[in-house]
Assembly symmetry: C2
Homo-oligomer: 251 residues x 2
DNA sequence: TACCGCTTGTGAACGCATGCACAAAGTCGG
DNA sequence: CCGACTTTGTGCATGCGTTCACAAGCGGTA
């Protein structure tokens, strides 16, 4: 057991609240993967699969089997040695850890191309994330329903977010507006923000921001294209100095 | 010097190609940040700023100053001690490292809501990524221009990607179609893929995939919402069982 | 020219995450 | 009831990435 982390602040915890303590200890990277496992498991569940081994699941999720087991161990021991995991059990535990048992009301700000796409996603991929509010500066858009929800003016963010208990704000505005929108969301009490604008947002410590940056993604790919090209070039020129036809050691 | 990695395959390299060797050594995480620095620097450049210190730049990019300097050191020493960095110089070097000197032709597959949004982004955020081809299964869409480019049928992927030398493929299809589309892109010689479909793609080793997964992002945020809520609860109830006044060990 | 203050570049320590390898724990067949 | 086989859960080692702290280097000033 890796529990009992000698931090001097935790003594023994009750039974039920053990999850909460555990949640603090789950590495960020593992959380992202848990979400992936959850999707794969949901798919299996719908296909009628009831049990799965770490080997199968890890392959379906595109990760190492050992890593998968370690990730699952962060949320507790719900497998059966010699057998594997019960799909339903895993699904429900992961859902609980990820906080998907409660609904998270979502507000989308900036109803341009992307905002439209997001609003129309329809309840957002994976249940549990109802879009309950849309905002834009453009007065012409106000009142028009997109994906079933009428657009409100951006000035109403604070009031409406409070009223509808929005817990996640999605920023899909042009870059210059992003920070200001962010500030308003924060002052409305929104503590989690998903930012599509290519801008580094400044937020207080108690607000969590995740960024989806297309330009960055493209540039990372570009980097790899370039790296590949260079490698190919250096190979075709001559294997890093070591003989071409001679004693090629290379396995 | 961290060079001379004792892998037995690298000897000494010429002068100019030093970049190429360096590129292999840049940590993936650093590459992502370089892209961010580049954007910030571009903005500064447009604002007429010509010089910047690591402190200023790091703050604008939302990272630690030491980390920024280390990241920049991966691409070489282009700063002046006691002064800082020349904005233009940094911009051009980062662009070169990221492979942005050549153009990367992009193909978008799946012209739904998201595909539309992507096609309309107009040359893609940050120059250098011209969208040169669009594909969809829907015959009704074929021929219709989106963002200035006519949609082609998905069956033409291989031919057109080859012809237009597409180097980056963007998958914006529904989940079930993603793997098949991916396979076709790969067989057309595309080596870099940006995947928006919530599916784990199986690709050969020589293909680079980056994933943008809205559901996962939302669920990570959900996790943090839950964590916060738990923390708040445990604080308001009484600090982890240790006495408010009595020895409440919390049931 | 010599000194002073400022900022870069980087060696080294630290911490987190990954992967290995194996004991523990269960099932199944005899 | 026992032994063989399977699969989980995890201690440990390894490697990568982040952070610290400081020497090296440069411009400005007297």
């Amino acid at each position: 057991m890796a529990s009992q982390r000698g931090e001097g602040e935790t003594t023994t915890t009750p039974a039920e609240a053990a999850d909460k303590e555990r949640a603090r200890a789950i590495p960020e990277a593992a959380v992202a993967r848990l979400a992936v496992y959850l999707r794969v498991l949901s798919g299996m569940s719908e296909s009628g699969v009831t049990a799965v081994s770490s080997e199968e699941l890890s392959q379906a999720a595109g990760v190492n089997a050992a890593k998968l087991r370690k990730d699952l161990s962060y949320i507790g021991s719900y497998g059966t040695r010699g057998v594997g995991y019960d799909v339903e059990v895993l699904v429900s535990h992961i859902e609980r850890i990820l906080g998907l048992t409660r609904n998270h009301s979502v507000a989308v700000v900036g109803i341009g191309n992307l905002g439209h796409a997001l609003a129309n996603y329809g309840g957002f991929p994976g249940r549990g994330f109802p879009v309950t509010a849309l905002f834009d500066v453009d007065a012409d858009l106000v009142g028009i329903p997109v994906g079933g929800i009428p657009v409100n003016h951006i000035d109403e963010i604070t009031a409406i977010c409070r009223e509808r208990e929005v817990s996640i704000g999605v920023i899909a505005t042009p870059p210059p507006a992003a920070q200001s929108v962010c500030d308003r969301l924060v002052s409305a009490g929104v503590q989690c923000i998903l930012n599509f604008a290519p801008v580094v947002l400044q937020v207080p410590d108690n607000v969590e921001v995740r960024k989806v940056d297309l330009a960055v993604e493209m540039q990372i790919l570009s980097f790899h294209v370039a790296r590949r090209a260079d490698e190919a070039a250096s190979v075709s020129v001559g294997n890093n100095g070591l003989g071409v036809d001679g004693m090629v050691i290379r396995p």
